[in-house]
Symmetry: D2
Subunit: 253 residues, 4 copies
Amino acid sequence: MKKRLKSGLGRSTPDSVEVRGRNLADELIGKVSLGDFAYFELMGRLPSPQESIMFNALAVTLVEHGMTPSAIAARLTYFGAPESLQAAVAAGLLGLGDRFGGSIEQAARMLQEALGEPGGSVDIEDAAKKIVAAHRGGQIIAGLGHPTHKPVDPRTSRLFEVAAENGFAGRHVELMKGVGKAAATAYGRDLPINATGAIAAIASDMGISWRVCRGIAVMARAIGLVAHLQEEMSDPMAAEIWARVEHEASGEL
Amino acid sequence: MKKRLKSGLGRSTPDSVEVRGRNLADELIGKVSLGDFAYFELMGRLPSPQESIMFNALAVTLVEHGMTPSAIAARLTYFGAPESLQAAVAAGLLGLGDRFGGSIEQAARMLQEALGEPGGSVDIEDAAKKIVAAHRGGQIIAGLGHPTHKPVDPRTSRLFEVAAENGFAGRHVELMKGVGKAAATAYGRDLPINATGAIAAIASDMGISWRVCRGIAVMARAIGLVAHLQEEMSDPMAAEIWARVEHEASGEL
Amino acid sequence: MKKRLKSGLGRSTPDSVEVRGRNLADELIGKVSLGDFAYFELMGRLPSPQESIMFNALAVTLVEHGMTPSAIAARLTYFGAPESLQAAVAAGLLGLGDRFGGSIEQAARMLQEALGEPGGSVDIEDAAKKIVAAHRGGQIIAGLGHPTHKPVDPRTSRLFEVAAENGFAGRHVELMKGVGKAAATAYGRDLPINATGAIAAIASDMGISWRVCRGIAVMARAIGLVAHLQEEMSDPMAAEIWARVEHEASGEL
Amino acid sequence: MKKRLKSGLGRSTPDSVEVRGRNLADELIGKVSLGDFAYFELMGRLPSPQESIMFNALAVTLVEHGMTPSAIAARLTYFGAPESLQAAVAAGLLGLGDRFGGSIEQAARMLQEALGEPGGSVDIEDAAKKIVAAHRGGQIIAGLGHPTHKPVDPRTSRLFEVAAENGFAGRHVELMKGVGKAAATAYGRDLPINATGAIAAIASDMGISWRVCRGIAVMARAIGLVAHLQEEMSDPMAAEIWARVEHEASGEL
């Protein structure tokens, strides 16, 4: 009556460790880079050279965004719990929700649901207009606009360039661009595709389900958060932030 | 009177994003792999080819360990909170504490404190004996022994091979091996160096402080946890684990 | 140009600590119970005797649900990171998302949005039918149905009894009951109001915004999770769960 | 060969829910307050009136400490992930580590290990001197000293008063006071017992193991964090904190 538990990710025997059917020691360690291994974990096969460049480019874009709310939360957590670096990273990751990491997921979902299965024959221009129409009333369209990077998000240009060079500027990228144009027309102002939108479009053209797109942000940012905690160890700011916020918020100014 | 807040990790202007002083779009995206970027974030410079192979090898070893307590906790969390993948990854990372991720930190600390600054003249054999002596009374020595992988942990052999090929089998690796031998003599049984011990020794020979060694495990495992959650989406086991545990624990068997 | 940071929750001076404007040492410690203090923190005033009984009843209902996915995740996390009990509790709380804690929020939102501001004149029966109609197509209605407790959830009966005795069986409770009846008619089978639905309805009649209803579950469950970790310390099950799951999932059965 | 999983905390049948052997609906809901229920969960029996006053007093003291690093981290996390209030509370709890919640654990451990089993005959004055001697070299003694509350922590005086009135000013409280005096003599300056020290001493005299003392802080603070998030919803400060920190840290000042 029990459902059988099974996982194809990893297994160990006394003399070997396997990951997705490959021998970790013999076939992977020292031969495959971390980014390619992440692709392997997610897709079940090693990337081609083009896939490797593209996937690593997406992930690299997401590692470090400076002093974000996530990074500040991680530093404040480390201040209180220096015994568990893992908890400080976890605290930082918890903020990659609907407003941050979630926006990649939302943009990828929008594009993937509009285009349907690979090989479909949806008209890109029509699809773009429908998406914009569905967002009327001032609703934000995932993947468009940026408070700082105007008129162009430099990461977007670069990511689209890498995508074109490696064969990943497909129908989802085309649709994302179409959405940007249709939105500019509808709203009467420039709405640049932000890095989130570019990543969502390219990941979609790589065949990555929108359901795990938030995960790419999470794995990349974990790296950045470790770097923030390393900096916090030698050049701390948590106590200073705490003191200032507490002082002002409790009305002692 | 205020302490100045400053961070050298990332900054943005309207037309550029910088990470550790380099232009992200122009110099890094599409040119640097995720593993090399992680090295860059931690060490402040891009790795040499040898450093790249070695660092990626360490990280790759830590990504996927099958159905660990961390992976199970992440899957159970996702079951309850499917709206926030980031929270499920965070829950999984929280278990990388003293027993798991912490053991790399502990082993690296043991080796780095024994050898002191680079270029020191500590006698390796003496240092190894002192370490073993300090653990008398059945205390576990970080980096030694494994419940499954006997007599040899296959990851250890491979990591030491990669280290030798790339110039990272230095004094810390030598000391770790010395500790293994001294422990075998003292305890009268084989105590293989486990993957944790190998990683700690090699990371130490790469100049990575023991204070961030736990962080390498954390960043790597974040990748593996995303893969577990992707598998959980298509082939779930959380509900089944819950049902079995609840049924048995509440005495209904 | 800066927005002023301010908080009315707590402040300290050298000789006093204030919480929401009251002196903690003189007015609260030793005089107010934990549940009443929670009410005070959320509502800004101490509860009346009726409010105290009711609020404590809601919270008590949410503390302990046996070996839930949350409790298992907390125990597995503690196994890996015994140095940080707080991280194990946090891991457990992370699973109180849309499927669990979130359902109280959803039910309360449904009721509060249907009835609008206090003193409104919405017809309860109409509102109930509209809610059920909006869920056609097999969609679950928050607050109704339970896999185990049939035909009646014993907590619901008791909570509604306490509500009636203390003056909190108001329009939201009436609406929740109406939704239950309308759903039974529409679906042709009994759909008992579960504890979640009862709590959501009563909290709504107490004037608690649906936006913090999930928070009542979170604060209550934190208590239960600490108890699970205490039990795990003396009578552990994490290692056994891990061993079984790993063995079966990796195909060694 | 399998170890049997069992838990005595909660179980459900179709028509009842039991917590620690008592019927939740019939015996507990509407009859027992949240604080007393927490005591029941931890100790396995309902508290006496004196135990109830004392335990609630300890917990109440720990709920709200104003704009702590924990509260700021929770608010920043909520800003990024407004879909999961539980994650923001969890992020806040993660900071209750060695520096904050952990200090209660440390103080309680120090006292409990010094006095041994109840009914022991350790000399209090001797034990106090030994503890101070073991901390020479400027090491902080858990439970002593406070950056703001000088010369006396008002919560300490009040907690000791409640303890005396209810029969919990026992040998652990005596020892904590002895440690304070011995430290003042040894260091030549006043070192007031802080709230942490008072709570640790009283919890010890109530028979609560030091291993769960950190848990009392965790369960109490979960309440406070929900209140902070409620305030953040109506009167947000996360975006402002982020903007200020990012601006200054990236050198744009």
